[in-house]
Amino acid sequence: MSRLVKKSPSVCTDLPLDNADICNKLRLMRELLGSCYGPTGRLKQIHNNIGGRVVTTSSSSVLLPAIASSEPFVNLIRTSILHHVRRFGDCGLFAAIFCLSLVEQAKQSGLRAKAVIRSNEHLASLCTDYLKQGGCGCKVKLDLCSGRDLVALARSVVSSKPACVLTEPECVHISRLAVRAFLLTVPCDTPGSVSLGQTVRVSVEGLPVTHSAVVPGLLVDTAEDVYLSQPCSLPHPLVLFSASLAGDLSELGDGLIEVHPRVDSDSQVLSQLLELGNQVVRDGVKVFVCQKVIHPVLQLYLTSHGVTVVERLGVTLMEPLIQLTGAQPVATLHSAVQPTAYGQVGGLSVRRFGSKTMLHLQACGESAICTIILCHRNETMLNELKVTCQKAEHVLRLALREPSALRGGGCTETHLAAYSKSEVPALGRGCSQTEYLRAAEAFCRSLESVARSLEHDGGTSTIDPTHAHRWTRPSDVATERRGVGAGCCGCGSLDGRETWTSAEFPPADLLRDASVQPGVLDSFTAKLNALQVAVETANLALDVRYVIRDVN
């Protein structure tokens, strides 16, 4: 007999932004993410409550998935920022802090939500239009022909992650590697539409960071005593299986199979496998790769016929290997391998990194696949380094599409704030002039608060009226920021000697002076999108009237 439990009614929260609990949670999230922002940001230790692994990080791509909230309203903001991070890889913390402080400022200003939304929309389009202009004061053209700009861009990403614990030379080394790996993924002279290759990251714990390297081709984990086929004739034909060759009946899936007791299914599958091996050997294949397990009998058969065998490749390496060799993955063992399915390998060697033995597969001709070996002293820092390198690669790829960057270190934000203030208010429907002015003020304050979030040691941030750049005055007056000299602005293109005069917009142009190249660069595409995501999400959050939850 089943017992009926009365369904409890849904819970409805009216005006979630007036709810103190939700506001507290939003503020907590802003402070949590804000404290991670920038090169001197604080780290967070993430673990679950039953004693799982501890992750130490300050990057949004790790942090945001972890801080799931019990409050759907908070999750709404979190997921939309997370989507931006997954798509663009960078500026996640910027988007989160900006969005949350927009909501907070709007709440504090006491303006009607509709008016704030309207002016936010207007201001955001104003800013994006300005950023897209050629003469924008915070945009820097990237010279893709020289490595210097790319390294500077990569370095800004790498140095903004303090959990990597890199020294200055190590930071430069990693940035250079990131650029080199990126350049290797750009195909040289392919006619028609160009598609970028892939970088595979391999991590080795316990070696110094400076042992990290980039190699063209693929590095594949292998057994210590891997058999290497003799380099009789290059290139080596290769065959790649995506089906399991373990000799089991896993392909059949679940369900009941009825067999005659005298039928030995194992040996039948094995003979099928050996037939396959026989064909492959006849076709002169020298490298035999399987995504999954290979039956030991087949392995022995292959190696005794001079074939190098790699098993358990893993699904992540399948795509790069297909690109590298041009092989078609074979998905079944019940039919003969088509001759078109074979790929080719240009070079084969065994390389050792620390405790790892790896097989180095090189392409026959030109290929856009490379492997970056990342070394670090402990696993926590190594994991963060991996995330950081992925981010750097993403940013570099974005730069290929739009070869410009934004001034980093908070200077873009302050500059945009100054620009928004200077613009003549354009009145829209449903928003009075005073309302617009106050909303614009809140918008600028939010932008400036993002820039201020870069400072974590109690220093004071100031904005100069001449160039609208961001300056910091440390609390203990002893700060020497790494890389950027003592008296520099956030992005490092100005030093303290200049006098501040005018307070008009547009601020004095520094692009004329070619010698001043900002030291800190942000990805243009990522930041532009982050700005839009932040404003749209904040507007949506301001627009939410009810939160209805089914509590059953």
Binding site: K25, L28, E31, L32, S35, T40, R42, L43, K44, Q45, I46, H47, N49, I50, G51, V54, T56, L63, A66, I67, A68, S70, P162, V165, T167, E205, G206, D225, S244, A246, D248, S250, D254, G255, L256, I257, E258, V259, H260, P261, S265, V293, H295, P296, L300, R377, N378, E379, T380, M381, H456, D457, G458, G459, P474, S475, D476, A478, T479, E480
Partner: protein, 637 residues
């Protein structure tokens, strides 16, 4: 799911409201590192104090000796504790020594960082100044290295004076006993009753004569690296000499520790420890008789990677979930599947005429019995790298299933020797048998023996620590003056740099009135780092046993003053710990010195500082998942 947040810094709510500077001076994470480091204080240095670690829930307790074992057995559960453990484990995996140095310095430098926070120095500055201090220390290390060859040469000339031995024999072994004491440990007394050394006629001693100086001076240099574990180091040197006899490369000797195995054997006196070619396995009673029949002959041998049971399938093989045998009429089941399999396997063995089968996994009892009847020795649970090496040298191919075996998979030329008869019964090992290829693979096994069960782990750890020290010394080709000399030099340089900064800043401040606190702060941080190293030396000196904490501090500071006065001349390193230990015998002959590994020291220091940096920069802990309620300093997101 919801996420909870605890603040590292004392008051969670206040911090989150933004009064960060005021509260960050009480950094809980750094305090935890420092507290964890305190647990190993008495075990740092060559003279170790033992600790009992008891588990309240299970009632089990364990007596531990090395710093690594202490921190491992403590199983710290807090997030910082896990980070500490992870760092120490990563270090231990590669170097097998220096964990104590790492932990103690991490603790000392955590306190230094806390002190800096108290003085209002920003986190960014603490990190950049401390990195600067580390650079100074690493430079000192680089400059004060001694070439390994030079040491080896002096060793040969002085021909190992007796005085050395005397200083070294104040080792901790022997006097203290270490015992793994579990509540229900009825094994130890029983075994000690049974284990009387029986001198049977099968008793076969394989002592090796190791007096030929293969690589001159290595044994002498190794002695200087033993750090109080002479017994273990002697074994290591034997292992090295056995190995290098094979590769004959005198110019650039290497010690390949991947080809060194250990075999622990309880119930024998420590003096029986030795090093043998090949590997050593323990055999049961019935296998011993087979071993006696086939010993000292050149055998045909097969190698199996995996278990020898009829149900065993290779890794990654999935059994189909629902296979059901169906037939029209019931098949007469004369013999079971297992019997069929057994018959087939034995047939394979017999047709190939193998006498010895080595497997990495287990074998079913009936197969072992059958093999014994056919005079085939089946050895289970062989270490898989050892199996691979022996297989390589005998020209065999290890296979997964016995049915795979064919003529070309079988190796030849392997010999077995019965090392010692343990004369026990039942499933307990009855004899230790040495399986040797005699060929040039360089696989050697150290047999570590002790009457006290609980001590075996410590002895094995000591052996590996010594082996890694020698390995890294030969790899680095350089050594550092040990017993605190390098640290002294680092302290000296750090203090000089600190003075310089403070002085320069004072001058500048007088001139311009706008002098920043940068120099002052930098000087302060460097001084605190030096204090951390002083703390380390003092601890080692105290642990050496002759001085109390206060006296040790006085000795260290007196040494430092002398240092400053003499302005360090090369070769005038005073070896503090040695002096503390020694008596009249420590008459400063160059041979009496202690040396440290360069790479081990550098990595330990750097990892200690990494740990401090990671924790120093962390300001909050995010706990995911629904959790306990009622903790005040938690904030729910």
């Amino acid at each position: 799911m919801s996420a909870k947040l605890t603040n590292f810094l004392l008051s969670a709510v206040q911090i989150m409201l933004g009064s960060a500077v005021l509260n960050s001076r009480q950094h809980i994470g750094l305090q935890r590192v420092s507290a964890l480091a305190e647990t190993v204080r008495s075990s740092v240095g060559p003279n170790k104090k033992y600790k009992f670690i008891q588990d309240d829930t299970s009632g089990e307790s364990v007596l531990v000796c090395s710093c690594f074992r202490i921190i491992e057995s403590l199983e710290p559960t807090c997030a910082v504790g896990q980070l500490v453990l992870e760092t120490v484990q990563a270090h231990h995996k590669v170097y097998r020594s220096g964990s104590g140095c790492l932990l103690l310095l991490a603790g000392a430098w955590s306190r230094a960082a806390l002190d800096c926070l108290h003085r209002g120095i920003s986190v960014t500055n603490i990190i950049s100044f401390m990195s600067e201090g580390m650079d100074i220390c690493l430079d000192v290390c680089k400059e004060s290295t001694v070439l390994f060859e030079d040491l080896a040469v002096t060793g040969r000339r002085t021909a190992a004076p007796r005085g050395v031995e005397k200083t070294f024999t104040e080792a901790p072994q022997g006097s203290r006993h270490m015992q793994r004491a579990t509540k229900s440990d009825d094994m130890t007394p029983n075994m000690s009753v049974r284990r009387k050394t029986k001198l049977s006629r099968h008793f076969c001693e394989t002592t090796l004569h190791l007096d030929e100086p293969d690589v001159p001076g290595v044994s002498h240099a190794a002695e200087m690296l033993s750090h109080g574990c002479e017994g273990s180091m002697k074994l290591v040197v034997e292992a090295f000499q056995l190995q290098s006899k094979k590769n004959q490369e005198l110019r650039n000797p290497m010690f390949d520790i991947s080809k060194v195995m250990t075999c622990v054997l309880p119930g024998l006196p420590e003096g029986r420890a030795c090093v043998l070619h090949g590997c050593v396995v323990l055999l049961s009673h019935e296998q011993v008789s087979v071993a006696h029949q086939i010993k000292e002959r050149r055998l045909k041998v097969a190698f199996i990677n995996g278990d020898l049971t009829h149900t065993y399938r290779h890794l990654g093989f999935k059994k189909p979930p629902g296979v059901q045998p169906v037939s029209e009429r019931s098949v007469p089941s004369g013999s079971s599947k297992e019997d069929e399999w057994l018959e087939k396997v034995v047939e394979v063995f017999l047709s190939l005429e193998v006498n010895l089968i080595l497997t990495t996994g287990l074998a079913c009892e009936s197969l072992i019995q059958t093999c014994c009847r056919h005079r085939i020795l089946l050895v289970e649970r062989v270490n898989s790298p050892a199996l691979r090496l022996i297989a390589n040298s005998s020209g065999a191919l290890p296979v997964t299933y016995p049915t795979q075996l064919s003529e070309h998979c079988v190796g030849t030329g392997v010999q077995i020797f019965i090392w010692t008869d343990l004369s026990s019964y039942g499933r307990k090992p009855a004899a230790a048998v040495n399986i040797s290829t005699g060929g040039g693979v360089g696989l050697v096994t150290a047999v570590i023996t002790s009457c006290v069960d609980g001590k075996l782990q410590a002895l094995e750890d000591q052996f590996w620590a010594c082996a890694h020290r020698l390995h890294h010394a030969l790899k680095d080709r350089v050594l550092l003056p040990g017993a605190g000399a390098t640290e002294m030099l680092c302290i000296h340089h750090l203090q000089k740099a600190a003075e310089r900064h403070s002085q320069a800043d004072a001058d500048r401040a007088q001139e311009t009135k706008t002098g920043t606190a940068a120099g002052l702060h930098r000087g302060h941080v460097l001084q605190l780092m030096a204090d951390g190293l002083i703390d380390y030396i003092t601890t080692v000196t105290v642990n050496a046993g002759r001085f109390s904490a206060v006296e040790a501090r006085t000795v260290v500071s007196r040494q430092l003053q002398n240092f400053h006065r003499d302005q360090i001349m090369a070769g005038k390193f005073s070896q503090l710990a040695l002096e503390a230990e020694g008596d009249a015998s420590a008459d400063k002959t160059p041979a009496a010195r202690i040396y440290d590994n360069l790479s081990v020291k550098q990595e330990a220091w750097r990892k200690a500082l990494d740990l401090v940096f990671l924790v120093l920069q962390t300001d909050a802990e995010v706990i995911t998942g629904t959790g306990r309620k009622g903790e005040d300093n938690l904030m729910l997101l």
